[in-house]
Every structure is written in structure tokens, then in C-alpha cells.
């Protein structure tokens, strides 16, 4: 069976596209699939360092497209997971170096060899974003629960639907249950109501994410981390499994205890 091509985008930068690509890809590979990651953020190469593969780069995406090398020569094998490969972005070129047609052509050519191809899209709604979108069958939109990121996500969702891809699914990243509980962060329901999309995953804000990036080891390899668990569940859902959303709970702190003591009602659920 042919593999599926997913594009991961967000509109706004820094919300977790690269993190999501690395983790969902690793989790799918850990589940036994053959997975290819393509870093389409040309000029701002990132996925290689997040995966800890920066020292193994020989060729890049632009060289593959320009037929300087075979796609297989540019694929870096992951150091932790079998069946996981990365085609890194070019660092010295800009987004005009490739066209959507070319990226699509490459994916079509590689589809038979992989179960999943994940494309890490650049931020924005410019050429680089369009290239990545053109090559994909399905889209995952990553956002954080803040006004700017959601506004940009809505724009991107509009483009994706207009391009004829199926309705994108959402990963809501960097959720802080304590803030949700206090009413200082929009709930999952708020976000889904605004964007009218399906939820693919709920990922908490997690310090382990930074540690994992420092080490170049995706957080899904840390079996104790909450964010890793969240991404493992995303991978299961991508496969079509029906797993419950991660419950994001805060332990009762002094504040909550006080609130209960004085009997204030209408607490905002943090299980969002």
C-alpha cells in the first residue's frame, strides 16, 4: 500500500511544528512503520538538530530536487529508531529554490517505499508553505492556545481547505492546565469552537521538551514524560486508533484548596 503524505503547519512560527514532526514521526516509527521526515523549511533548517542528526548530513532537499544526488543518498537514518529517515532542508538556499510541483513529484516517487511521509512546513503563508501543502494528502495544523497563534491557524486552515486537501486536524500544543483551570487560558473547547476542526492531540507545556531538544532526542522516547505520551497518542490516532485525549490535570495546590474551602463554584474544568 502507498504511504500517506502529511504536511505539518501552523501559520505562526514557534508553536511546535518541528517538535510535532519529530515526535509524531518517531512515535509512528516506534509503532513499526517506515517513516520519512522532510524538512521543507529551506534556509531555516531545524528538524536535524531536534532529531540530533545534524552531524550526519551529506545532501539536502534542494540537492535531491536538483538531481545532484538520489533521494536515498540524502536520507539520514535516525540514530534511535529503526525505519525512520530524514531529508534535511538546505541551509544555504531560500524558499524559491524548489517548487511545489517538485516537492510533490518527490513525494509521489517515494510514497511506495514508506508508510508515512511527514513534511515540516515553514511558518507563514508564502511560497515555502504552499510548496509543502501542494505535496501533501493531509494536513495537521499545530497551534497554541493564544490569540495570535489561533488567528494565524485559522488563515492556514482556510488555505488548506481551499486547496482541496481534506479538513485539517489540530494539535493543540503548550497547554497549561493550571492556567486553563484559572480561566486564564482558552480551553480546548474554546479553540475547537473558533477553528471548527477535529482535535488530533492535546500536548501540555512540558519542561522536558526543552531538555529533549538540548539532547537531540525527541520526547516520545521519554516514557515518563506527559508531552511524550501526548505525541504517542497522536501517532495512534494518525493510524486510526481511537484513543482518549490525555487528561491534563493539575494537582490541587493551595489555591484550589482555598477555593474549595470558601466554596466557590463554576470552576473551569482543566481536563480540557
Amino acid at each position: 500500500m502507498e504511504g500517506e503524505v502529511y504536511v505539518i503547519n501552523s501559520g505562526k512560527g514557534g508553536v511546535g511544528k518541528t517538535t510535532a514532526t519529530a515526535n509524531v514521526g518517531s512515535a509512528l516509527a516506534l509503532r513499526g512503520h517506515k517513516v520519512l521526515l522532510i524538512d521543507a523549511d529551506i534556509g531555516l533548517r531545524n528538524l536535524d538538530v531536534v532529531m540530533g542528526l545534524e552531524n550526519r548530513i551529506v545532501y539536502d532537499l534542494v540537492q535531491v530536487i536538483e538531481e545532484v544526488c538520489q533521494p536515498q543518498q540524502a536520507m539520514i537514518r535516525d540514530k534511535l529508531t529503526e525505519n525512520l529517515f530524514l531529508i534535511p532542508a538546505a541551509q544555504t538556499r531560500d524558499k524559491t529554490a524548489v517548487t511545489g510541483e517538485q516537492v510533490k513529484g518527490l513525494c509521489e516517487k517515494l510514497k511506495p517505499d514508506f508508510d508515512y511521509i511527514l513534511i515540516d512546513s515553514p511558518a507563514g503563508i508564502e511560497q515555502g508553505f504552499k510548496n509543502a501543502m501542494e505535496a501533501a494528502d493531509k494536513a495537521i495544523v499545530v497551534t497554541t492556545p493564544d490569540v495570535a497563534a489561533i488567528r494565524d491557524a485559522d488563515r492556514v486552515i482556510g488555505f488548506i481547505e481551499a486547496a482541496g486537501l481534506s479538513k485539517p486536524e489540530l494539535i493543540l500544543n503548550r497547554v497549561r492546565p493550571g492556567m486553563v483551570r484559572r480561566g486564564d487560558m482558552m480551553t480546548t473547547e474554546d479553540v475547537l469552537d473558533l477553528l471548527s476542526v477535529q482535535l488530533l492531540g492535546l500536548v501540555p507545556e512540558d519542561e522536558k521538551m526543552i531538555v529533549s531538544a538540548n539532547r537531540g532526542i525527541p520526547v516520545v522516547h521519554d516514557m515518563k514524560s506527559r508531552s511524550g505520551e501526548a505525541f504517542r497518542r497522536v501517532a495512534a490516532r494518525v493510524e486510526g486508533e481511537d484513543v482518549p485525549m490525555l487528561k491534563l490535570e493539575v494537582r490541587d495546590g493551595l489555591f484550589t484548596w482555598l477555593k474549595k474551602m470558601v466554596g466557590i463554584k463554576g470552576a473551569v474544568g482543566a481536563s480540557a
Binding site: I125, D146, V147, I150, R151, D154, R155, I157, G158, F159, E161, A162, A163, G164, V180, R182, G183, D184, M185, M186, T187, D190, D193, L194, S196, F255, L258, K259, M261, V262, I264, G266, V268
Partner: protein
Amino acid sequence: MAPALENLRGLVKRPPAIGNLKGIVKRAPSLENLRGMVKRPQAFDNIGEFVKRAFEKGEASRFEAHRRLQLVLLQDRSSLTAESLEALKNDLLVVMAKYVIIERDCLEIDIKQSGESLLLIANVRVFNDGEAVENPQPLLSPKKTAALKNSLLETAANYLPVDSDSIEVEEQHFNDSVVLVSSIRIADGESFPERKERTASLAAS
């Protein structure tokens, strides 16, 4: 081509809306309330009062974000200014009021991408005396419905490039009220960004 009612139902996630409509009315805190919540750094009588204040203040920020985004996304999707949107909403309300008795402040408009079309969706809660009915009768005759559709289209066309044969109006009957769900397709066969540019220039002219 008009979007099938089936589709519409999926789209209009909000209108099993009664609950939501209520929620929206409740959610939008009046300026009065907001002021009360946000300032006043005076000493509190007791810790309970303090916790309560802090909590209410927090609540306001999440609701505020949601409310502001609702409006911003509507503007982004339609490229209409806040004033034009407000005017469109008022005009639609005036039209509907000629056909049904509507509850005050309960018109919700939304603009949504459905596949490759962009839809203007207007939901309004129709006043009802609250009697639960076993087999609800349609509020409007087919003739009236057709007339309402025409008027809605004409109104919307003052603001957006609407597709003239793409309007759907559906009555959704609930225990204590009826929601009138209307959807109109905006423009035709254009992709989202191009259409946006067009509606933007339309709004500017």
C-alpha cells in the same frame, strides 16, 4: 450549486445552538461587569473574597480571548471591517424580523470554509412561548420561506459577493424554541486567498 442541507448540518456545529446561544449571551460580560472585575486593588475583607476576585478576573481573560477572536476571525474570513460586519448583522436581523418574531440579541453570524466554498451562516433564535410541542409545525410556509431567502440574499449582496442560487434556510425545532439557520455561499469557484482579495477590495470601495 447550493450546499446540501446535510453538509450544512455538519458545518453549523453551533446551532444545536440553544445551549450555545445562551452561553454566548451569558459569556459576553458587559463593560460594567468587566470594570468591576478588573480593577479595584483595595484590601479585601477576607481571603475568600480575595480568591474569588482573582478567580473572576482570570475567567474574564479566557472569555475575552474567545470573544475577541470570534470577531477577528469573522473579519479575517470575510475581509469585512468590524463596522461592516455589525451593519450586515443588523440588516439581516431587520429582514428576519419581518418574517418571524426573534429574540433580541441572538443573531449569530459566522463565515466558514466548507470544502472549496465559503459560506455566510446566520443563526437566529425565534421567539416561542416555551410550550413543548410533539410534532412541531413549520413556522414559515414555502412561499414565505422563498421570500425570506430572496430578501436575505439581497441584503447579503450589499456586503459580500454572494452566489445568488446558493441560499439555504432551515428551521431547527427544539423544545422551547426554534432556530432559523441560513447559509449563503460567497463568491464562486475562487480559491480562498483570491476571494479574500476580492472581498477586501469590495469592502474598501
